[in-house]
Subunit: 317 residues, 2 copies
């Protein structure tokens, strides 16, 4: 008899946990959704992860489960200790790998930072399959990243590598929440981009963006900017092109230092349209060194919201 | 009988070639100097390297020569092909490893980029011995770098990693010779720093820097700025502190992305004084992510002008 090998991939978010039964080829055979209870306590979160894994296991339908992979926000060290995930209450350092391994007796458990997990997913199953080396960027609420070298994730000495959101693209630039100034995230992260857009629309009251949010500029989100751009609003398109160009400055820095040619970009804002990808690419080409210019590629990610779960599965596969 | 193992280390520069007999512990037992003839042709340069190696071999005094290491400007690929070294005439891509190996029949030959070689030297014999992971910076005519991970050089996918000089620290900054804008080298590289200083001294005619260059601001060099600072000239000190701060912005970007805590800085300008190192450190601490801040160290390199030769030797040791 021929039983299929599967892995349980878990995507731990601030609001929900998604766990899935994933085949070796990256097909999601089943998936669930549990509240993560991140606002309660680490032990509640662990219980919820365990519940989602148990549920997934009962749906593995006689396949051989090879292990459990978890993608988590925050920094993840080599021992699977998760440090200071944003928006998780009372969570300083939690040995998540150890805690989950205790509960699932015997199965191998892997834990990785969520942006790194998404990078792994794009490398194994998505837009990066044919590229041994690339920078993966997740452009949404924040700007995160993961670096794939020789088809493997580059974690750096303590697991913190890939933090591209806080590269300063102007040493005299605006203050970032992180304490530094001019961080690329302080220009193009969702909240900052929305604020900057609201500011800019004061002199463009005709913009369709304002129509879409019913005139309430505090409701502006990249989603509406993208929709307005799609509907032909010139200022909306200009704002997104500028955001893409600014993102490109930071990507070029990473590509220069790490000798990379390819960036794969995921996250909500990146899906605004091909013209945004083109703006990022043009900017990267301007800011990278000559030997890299002709080979630069900026490619949209393929796996969307499932990248985290698939990458988590990829940790064990 | 006990014969010592030695290596021939070669530092190929635009003007001179230095070759040395280097012991396994990094002691230079003999060293020579030949003109590199970089302005003539690659074949002349190869002849000169061969001559310097031959001379060093005759001074190995019965030691067992384990191989020949060469540090070269330009990009060096995994096969020891040296690409487009600046100021080398008619030099596009030259298989230097192959050419030298032919001439020295049988001895192993290693070729590495010169900044990488210097990083290797600091790692094996210098300021980096106790640090498994660090960023090495060479701050002189240009701003170059080499990245040490787990005591080894990180070359990147094609050997081009460590190019920190062309990180843009202001996407709207001054034009750089490389074609990009706002590159850190366009602020703090020797020529740019000298020009910027000349410009600034127009409103500071009392500065000792001008006295040191006999009133001719076209003669300004970092060496004189450092000397004036040493003699108590306030504006000179201010200029160097500002340069250190700007350099720190780029170093922080690399340290964030690669999860590094330590920078080791060599090159002429870095030797201006401890206050410059302090300025770099303060800036790095401002621009790195919180988890890195408390561990940041900025340390002067130890090996000075011999780092290239020692690192070249280190390629074979």
């Amino acid at each position: 008899m021929n039983t299929q090998n599967v892995v349980i991939g878990v995507d731990l978010g601030g609001t929900t946990i998604k766990a899935g039964v994933v085949s070796e080829s990256g097909t999601i055979l089943y998936q669930n959704k549990f509240p993560s209870k991140a606002d309660v306590s680490p032990s509640e979160v662990i219980k919820q992860i365990h519940a989602s894994v148990q549920d997934a296991l009962t749906h593995a339908n006689g396949s051989t489960v090879r292990g459990i992979g978890i993608g988590a926000p925050g920094m993840v060290d080599d021992n699977g200790v998760v440090k200071a995930p944003p928006n998780f209450a009372h969570w300083d350092e939690v040995p998540l790998k150890y805690e989950i391994a205790k509960l699932v007796g015997g199965l191998p458990v892997g834990v990785e930072n969520d942006a790194n997990a998404a990078a792994i997913a794009e490398s194994k199953f998505g837009a990066g399959v044919q590229f041994p080396n690339f920078l993966f960027v997740i452009w949404g609420t924040g700007v995160g990243g993961g670096i794939i070298l020789n088809h493997k994730i580059f974690r750096g000495p303590t697991g913190g590598a890939g933090e591209i959101g806080h590269i300063s693209i102007d040493y005299n630039g605006p203050q970032c929440n992180c304490g530094s100034v001019g961080c690329v995230e302080a220009y193009v992260g969702q909240r900052y981009l929305s604020q900057r857009t609201a500011e800019r629309l004061k002199s463009h009251p005709e913009s369709k963006i304002l129509t879409l949010v019913g005139g309430d500029s505090s409701k502006i989100e990249p989603f509406y900017i993208a929709q307005a751009a799609h509907d032909g609003d010139a200022i909306a398109k200009e704002i997104l092109v500028e955001a893409g160009s600014l993102l490109g400055v930071a990507l070029a820095a990473v590509m220069n230092v790490m000798d990379l040619r390819i960036s794969i970009i995921g996250g909500g804002i990146s899906a605004s349209g091909d013209f945004v990808m083109q703006a990022v690419k043009k900017s990267v080409q301007k800011y990278v060194l000559k030997p890299l210019k002709k080979d630069v590629e900026v490619i949209p990610a393929k796996l969307g919201n499932n990248a985290g779960m698939l990458g988590a599965a990829g940790l064990v596969l």
